[in-house]
Amino acid sequence: MIDKRVRGLAEAVAGIRDGATILCAGFGGAGLPDALCEAVVEQGARDLTVVANNAGTGRGGLAALLGAGRVRRIICSFPRSSGSVVFEELYAAGRIELELVPQGIISERMRCAAAGLGGFYSPVSVGTRLAEGKEHREIDGRMYVLEKPLKGDVALLSADCADRWGNLTYRKSARNFNPTMAMAADLSIAQVRHIVELGELDPEMIVTPGIFVDRVVNVPA
């Protein structure tokens, strides 16, 4: 029998190792795995690399993980936003490394890892500082740079509904990075607002099939 439901947040994040690369979903305030991030603070893993679109806001969620000094490096497209105070303090103090990656390249690099591919050539960033040091290649008259796959040890996800197989549905723009990150990590953990019986989710509505999900924990809204 397949049952990916776990009893609580501590069990959900158990076993995350020091030095792990964590894919952390969400965009702005939507689809953020805040409870899982805070559970990782309790769990204790350190020296982490975090991949996320934004670098946390306020003091909770990803900002709590940053604020606890657990993150050595963040791979991010847009770290500074309204309320990103914890990141800004760490950055100003030189206590966090920032690797800035264009937003669509972060997600495509993760998709590439999920699909078992060795990289892709992209026109994004050609002629800019972010292309420096990358292999350039002209294909059919257009210049591209080589982008390598980006794989996570762990993905922290937020979804609307899950069943015990780990099938996930999302609400509106809270979908964002969740489906790609779910596919791109060895251990994918989802906090979900609702857990439903197997068979209740319309197969046409399932965005992330359970094959990509390892643990599901109920965190009501």
Binding site: G28, S77, Q103, S107, P123, N176, P179
Partner: protein, 222 residues
């Protein structure tokens, strides 16, 4: 009178073609959604996976699962849909969007765009989706105030700030003018009524020439 920011957005909205799929960048371009001409169906794309962005919600209708690239609450139009991030950027990079309206720090006379970092050490840089949009949409137009608050020109021979993409901008809407970027240089299509071309040139580093049908730039109070 220079246009106000909302009037720049109004002016850019007048040029949107019926049926176009359009991405609005954060800041000034986001205001364009308030001025879509009523006789046209325009599908607005938001990089975080929304196709068919609708007007801002009423106070009782805010749903924080439904936001735009600027992280503000939005609504979805009838016929709209949601996709995940990778597909959203496939739309962007793969040439599926007809137009992206973007903000800028600077634009060069060749259409180089600089809008992601000023290299100010006090502010960590943020690129977001700007580089994907700048090379991916079929056409790029920029909305920008003609000069900085200190009066420095934002339309330059060469950008002083690091580039987002080279030679991508085709049209610039400012508070003073509408300017086309062509292989032959910058052509002023419209100019506000109380300044003339020499006065506009004085606020612009790159060389300007009048388009053959140079017209006054007017916008209603909005």
């Amino acid at each position: 009178m220079p246009l106000k920011r909302r009037q720049i957005a109004w002016r850019a909205a007048q040029d949107l073609a019926d049926g176009a799929y359009v991405n609005l960048g954060i800041g000034l371009p986001t205001m364009v959604s308030d001025f879509i001409p009523a006789d046209r169906e325009i599908v607005l794309h938001s990089e975080n996976g929304v196709l068919g962005v609708g007007p801002a919600p009423g106070d009782n209708e805010v749903d924080w699962d439904l936001i735009n690239a600027g992280k503000q609450p939005i609504t979805l139009v009838t016929g709209g849909s949601y996709v995940h991030h990778t597909d959203s950027f496939l739309m962007i990079r793969g040439g599926h969007l007809d137009l992206a309206l973007l903000g800028a720090f600077e634009v060069s006379e060749r259409g180089d765009l600089a809008n992601w970092t000023t290299d100010d050490p006090a502010f960590p840089p943020g690129v977001g989706g700007a580089m994907d949009l700048a090379v991916g949409a079929k056409e790029i137009r920029v909305l920008v105030e003609h000069t900085t608050k200190a009066g420095a020109p934002r339309i330059r021979r060469n950008c002083q700030y690091p580039l987002t993409a080279a030679a991508v901008v085709r049209r610039i809407y400012t508070d003073l003018a509408v300017i086309d970027v062509t292989p032959d240089g910058l052509f002023v299509r419209e100019i506000v009524e109380d300044i003339d071309l020499p006065a506009l040139q004085a606020k612009t580093e790159a060389a300007l020439r009048p388009a053959p049908n140079l017209r006054p730039l007017r916008a209603p109070p909005v």
